[in-house]
Symmetry: C2
Subunit: 405 residues, 2 copies
Amino acid sequence: MADWNRLFATRMGEVVASDIRERMKLLQAGQIIHLGGGLPDPDIFPYAALAEASARIWSDPALARTALQYAPSEGHAALRAWIADYMTGIGAPCDPDNILITNGSQQGLDFVAKLLLSPGDKAMVEVPSFIGALRAFDAYEPVYAAYPGGNPVGAKFCYVGPDFRNPTGTTMTLEEREELLDLAAGNGMAILEDGCYERLRYDGAPLPSLLAMAIARHGSIEDTPVLHTGTFSKTIAPSLRVGWIAGPAAAIRKLVLIKQASDLATSALNQMLLLEVVRSQLAAATETACAVYRERRDSMLAALAEHMPQGVRWTRPEGGLYIWVELPKQLDATLLTQRALAEEGVSAIAGAAFYPRGVPAERNTLRLSFSMIDSEPAREGVARLGALVREMLQSTAAVTAISSA
Amino acid sequence: MADWNRLFATRMGEVVASDIRERMKLLQAGQIIHLGGGLPDPDIFPYAALAEASARIWSDPALARTALQYAPSEGHAALRAWIADYMTGIGAPCDPDNILITNGSQQGLDFVAKLLLSPGDKAMVEVPSFIGALRAFDAYEPVYAAYPGGNPVGAKFCYVGPDFRNPTGTTMTLEEREELLDLAAGNGMAILEDGCYERLRYDGAPLPSLLAMAIARHGSIEDTPVLHTGTFSKTIAPSLRVGWIAGPAAAIRKLVLIKQASDLATSALNQMLLLEVVRSQLAAATETACAVYRERRDSMLAALAEHMPQGVRWTRPEGGLYIWVELPKQLDATLLTQRALAEEGVSAIAGAAFYPRGVPAERNTLRLSFSMIDSEPAREGVARLGALVREMLQSTAAVTAISSA
């Protein structure tokens, strides 16, 4: 019998299933109020536009041939060009050579870590951080430093999501962005900018991306330290699995070789479908998504104000899909989420999941998502959570009273 | 200005563009006779079946939602089940839990290396080997041992393509398969079996896969040391980017976590398209592919017999897409391919590209592919190559005569 455990690479001992994905599987059955997930709402995907684009491709023999043969590793030329124009339009002037097409932005995060990290290298990451980024980085065995506050000396890159980031929903101010660019310049480190939510802004004025600001500083994308990941998963649909990395051509050329060695190329069919749809529908699809998610955010914020006891605080995101809740220090959010699921049929994610290895987690934090939930069930779910928090606070107070008696 | 070269991970210094992919780009323009490539022929892709499958998915709201939302990391359940049945049907009984869906089999090769290799670990590989496999493995910094002949002690796995492998077109005999299973058992190493050409057999009786033979030895897939990669790229179409890894559930579970951290999931749309098409069309599509490629193989073998001077030898593949040519020892195939392209407008790939780092290449070897070329241009291309070989042999003889004078 093969001893697979002996064969696994050293780092694989550390690889465990993400609590979130496992929980999502459990929750697929049953009458649960989902405040945990974070999937885009399939009700708003542009089905008709994709069906039309698909019919156009199949009815044109030349397009159909291109759609089914291997695509170039760097991406379908017309889509690369479209994305370069799109990035230019949002303040980050660049050429197709500055773009690599990836399978969603998750693959971009994986590839940048593969490009930059040798085992034992330092990676700075926002704390708390997107769990998918942490799992991608873990495979290359870095040591982590927290941003902000950690020691940047020797770090290969700093990973941030400037706009309404997962999990906190918070946005970096213009000043914080300038400071991070200074920190990167001062320490010779790269910046990995996760732009996956940037189109989902519901209030306030858009801020320039770190990539745009770095280009403004240096005069050209070629001289910047920024790799920016983007995706159509939140605006069009996730399962086309098309995203991109934008950055200096010197880094993109290496990333193309990584793409080639990893899975040769992203599906040409999906890149062509995407291109047809974004050309005509991106603005409308983004507007629809923003209208739907804005209303859901507002409902959930109202429910929190109505049902959470004093001492509980939460963020008020200007966009994205998440609200971050801070319970009174004495409460353990992992226990809360376990009880909420078992006793109240409400799912939420304890904040501890979003901390990198070696960085202490704040155990009284909680991520809620409003992306898939209408105002009535959101209010009901938050009310049940609020009641549980109240009950746990009372038991804690009782325990404290007993121990100090 | 960012110093990207300083930031790249140690191993990235070694990563260079594959000569083949670069050459393919160069050759996309111009009147070249392509004996180099190895792409499947787009004339035989099942366009109508895919167009119909696509229309069915878009016209059914429930299917369309599933097609666009994130798929499970392990793969679309119905496709996993279909592949488990398919593997069972070809002698390797297994369950859906033994299958991970990947973006083509290239991603399977990458993931197995990511699972098993820490820097400095030993990987055995067939010599010469599929260049895409070598580039995938390189990223995890192994040292290589040649199979057969190299020292297997301490190797994490042995990579082989038993059927009509790239680049040589040769097939492992049943006895060689048994010996490799013994070698793996004796050294506690895994076997990574690349099954990508296994359906493209034009003559002779099919041999059982190493996975099937290991299951027969051990009684269950769970006790085997084999991970088997498969793909629909050669039978249906490459750009759906759907392949799989089959193996013991203990390894598949870890590979699912790698998939999740690498790109979350393969496109649900593409998995569903593929499933619709393989259910009704795989047998017919495979038959068409075999008929077309068999004829092209025969034409190229006939052209070689007609035009190659004495002292040149080549393989007679029972399937796949490649013929391996061995020139007389004194000839350098790299020089030959450069001159063939520049002077004769004929592309071919020198064999040196297919040797892993640290293993000496046989410089007098050459890979030809017959997948995309009809009999007339194939004969013309081989005739020009043959004339060049003759000329180079005469100059070498002249040089030898002068030096020994």
